[in-house]
């Protein structure tokens, strides 16, 4: 069976700008994947190719082995885009019904609205919704067709911390129904919470594709913090460290071998205090991977 979604050596140029430079991604049915990367890395472009809103300059984008623009394929896919509007003068339940009518086996209307937590706003006009409610409406529209694959482009952008957490839980709930979820984000904890697999894109290239835990361990498993007066970056030359920052004698660095680092520092006669070693989170790993 062909994979649910696939980019094969896809490139995308907007005029002179190369947004994607040969990206290959294979997403199987049931995968929950986060595409991670800094702004402008090519995340939105990847999603646009996969849902058929844009065509690759070269290479291929396929859904279930077919062109993403194929309407039969589209009826198995739900999409939440980053920048999109919906008619302001329709009520929430009306627009959910409208989108349900596009799909062969939609969820019941109330179920879709409940999955997005919009029960109280079902009779409100779209223009009366707040920003966060509007995002939830887009989520309701994306899931109302009971799709096999759900694409979410930065679904929590502009939400506060609490809003993001509950939204991620809604997505996780959908994923638990055995569905494929592909989301882009630059909030790393979202990827960590939700995804079984993280694809890191930077400057149009995939630089990692692994479970969150592996990405954390691969790059820099430990974060060290300590205070060292008079230490400069030169003192750390040759040590197995990345992402060093020194502010006001406070040193922070990432490493996979904290013991070796300490031994070397002592041998070099560096005086340190307030040592702290902790497991790096995905955010640290990410910074280390994409720092140029």
């Amino acid at each position: 069976m062909p994979p649910a979604a696939e980019l094969i050596d896809a490139t995308k140029k907007y005029g002179e700008i190369e947004a994607l430079r040969g990206v290959t991604i294979r997403i199987e049915l049931g995968d929950v994947v986060a595409i991670l990367g800094p702004n402008g890395a090519g995340k939105t472009t990847s999603i646009s190719l996969l849902v058929g809103l844009r065509k690759p300059t070269s290479g291929k984008a396929l859904l279930f082995g077919l062109e993403p623009t194929n309407l039969l394929v589209r009826s198995r896919v739900g999409v939440m885009l980053q920048e999109s509007g919906v008619p302001a003068m329709l009520k929430v339940r009306e627009i959910v019904d409208l989108f349900r009518s596009y799909y062969p086996k939609p969820l019941p209307r109330d179920r879709a609205i409940a999955m997005a937590g919009l029960e109280e706003k079902a009779n409100a006009l779209v223009k009366e919704l707040s920003g966060g409610q509007r995002q939830r409406l887009y989520f309701a529209l994306a899931v109302c067709g009971d799709p096999d694959v759900l694409f979410l482009d930065e679904p929590t952008v502009g939400m506060d911390v609490e809003g993001r957490r509950s939204f991620i839980e809604r997505i996780a709930e959908f994923a638990r129904m055995g569905r494929t979820v592909v989301l882009t984000t630059h909030y790393l904890e979202e990827a960590d919470q939700l995804a079984k697999r993280v694809i890191v894109i930077d400057r149009g290239v995939v630089i990692a594709d692994a479970p969150p835990a592996e990405i954390k361990s691969k790059v820099a498993g430990r974060r060290m913090r300590f205070v060292a007066p008079d230490l400069t970056e030169r003192d750390l030359e040759g040590l197995p460290v990345t992402a060093v920052s020194i502010t006001d004698h406070r040193v922070q660095l990432l490493t996979n071998r904290p013991e070796a680092v300490l031994r070397d520092l002592f041998q070099r006669g560096v005086d340190i205090s307030d040592l702290e070693v902790a497991g790096a989170d995905l955010e640290d790993a990410f910074i280390a991977m994409t720092s140029h």
Binding site: L72, E83, P87, R100, S101
Partner: protein
């Protein structure tokens, strides 16, 4: 799908009073100002001005709905990037287009449902049932080229400029076509241009329907309108493709 989409398209328009109220009521206002006062004046062919001006307003109202509903909604949806999300759904573009056409025709029909009784009562217009029907079907059928014109404007103008562009095109054209004042009262230079205006040809169909002697045969008017329809449609398709290649390639 078609039913839901048409319902949604209709509600979208209906709930914008700037559109629904003006397209339903403005023709009545014009009819009150211009038509009623001299409704009993008899024109060529024994046609009363009340009936003549009813035909003018029917044409005005229906063409107005077609151009505005398509022009403004297309431009607005492009501006708000609604088209983006719709494009990612399994909705066939043809259904989308068809639902909008049905909505526009229903709306245009509504303007007639309001205008005809108004003219009957206020303008004392008495016509045979077959004449009322002929007028209605001619103005609904003859409005198709204006759908294409609305689409073309919707794709060529920005969301905020669409209203201005349409008014700039539509209102002067309505005047020059003799919809507000009979052509004979217009300046000579305009009179020379008006036979080439699509709205004038559309008007001829209406006036002819209520028995006013028009200079050329109805077939000529239909042919003119069909020609304009083809041209506007070609422009609309070109504008749509242009947009397509920019946004979705």
């Amino acid at each position: 799908m078609l039913v839901q989409q048409t319902k949604a398209e209709f509600l979208k328009l209906w709930r914008v009073p700037a559109f629904s109220a003006t397209s339903l009521l403005l023709p009545l206002v014009f009819y009150s100002f211009i038509g009623i006062g001299q409704a009993s004046q008899v024109m060529q062919g024994g046609v009363r001005f009340g009936a003549y001006f009813l035909a003018s307003m029917a044409v005005y109202a229906v063409a107005n709905v077609m151009i505005f509903s398509f022009g403004i909604s297309v431009a607005t949806e492009r501006g708000m990037k609604m088209d983006l999300l719709m494009r990612a759904t399994p909705l066939p573009p043809l259904i989308y287009l068809l639902s909008r056409c049905i909505t526009a025709v229903v709306f245009a029909g509504l303007t007639l449902v309001v205008l005809f009784p108004f003219a009957y009562i206020a303008g004392d217009v008495r016509l045979d049932a077959s004449v009322w029907l002929t007028l209605a079907y001619r103005v609904l059928l003859g409005s198709i080229p204006f759908i294409a014109l609305g689409f073309a404007i919707g794709y060529l103008s920005g969301p905020s400029s669409a209203v201005a562009v349409i008014n700039l095109i539509y209102l002067p054209m309505a005047f020059a076509s003799g919809l507000f004042f009979p052509k004979q009262l217009l300046p000579q230079i305009i009179q020379n241009i008006s036979p080439y205006l699509p709205l004038y040809r559309f008007g001829q169909l209406g006036w002819n329907a209520i028995g006013y002697p028009t200079s050329e045969s109805v077939t000529t008017d239909w042919l003119y309108l069909a020609g304009y329809g083809v041209v506007f449609f070609a422009i609309a398709v070109w504008a749509y493709r242009r947009e397509e290649s920019r946004k979705f390639s």
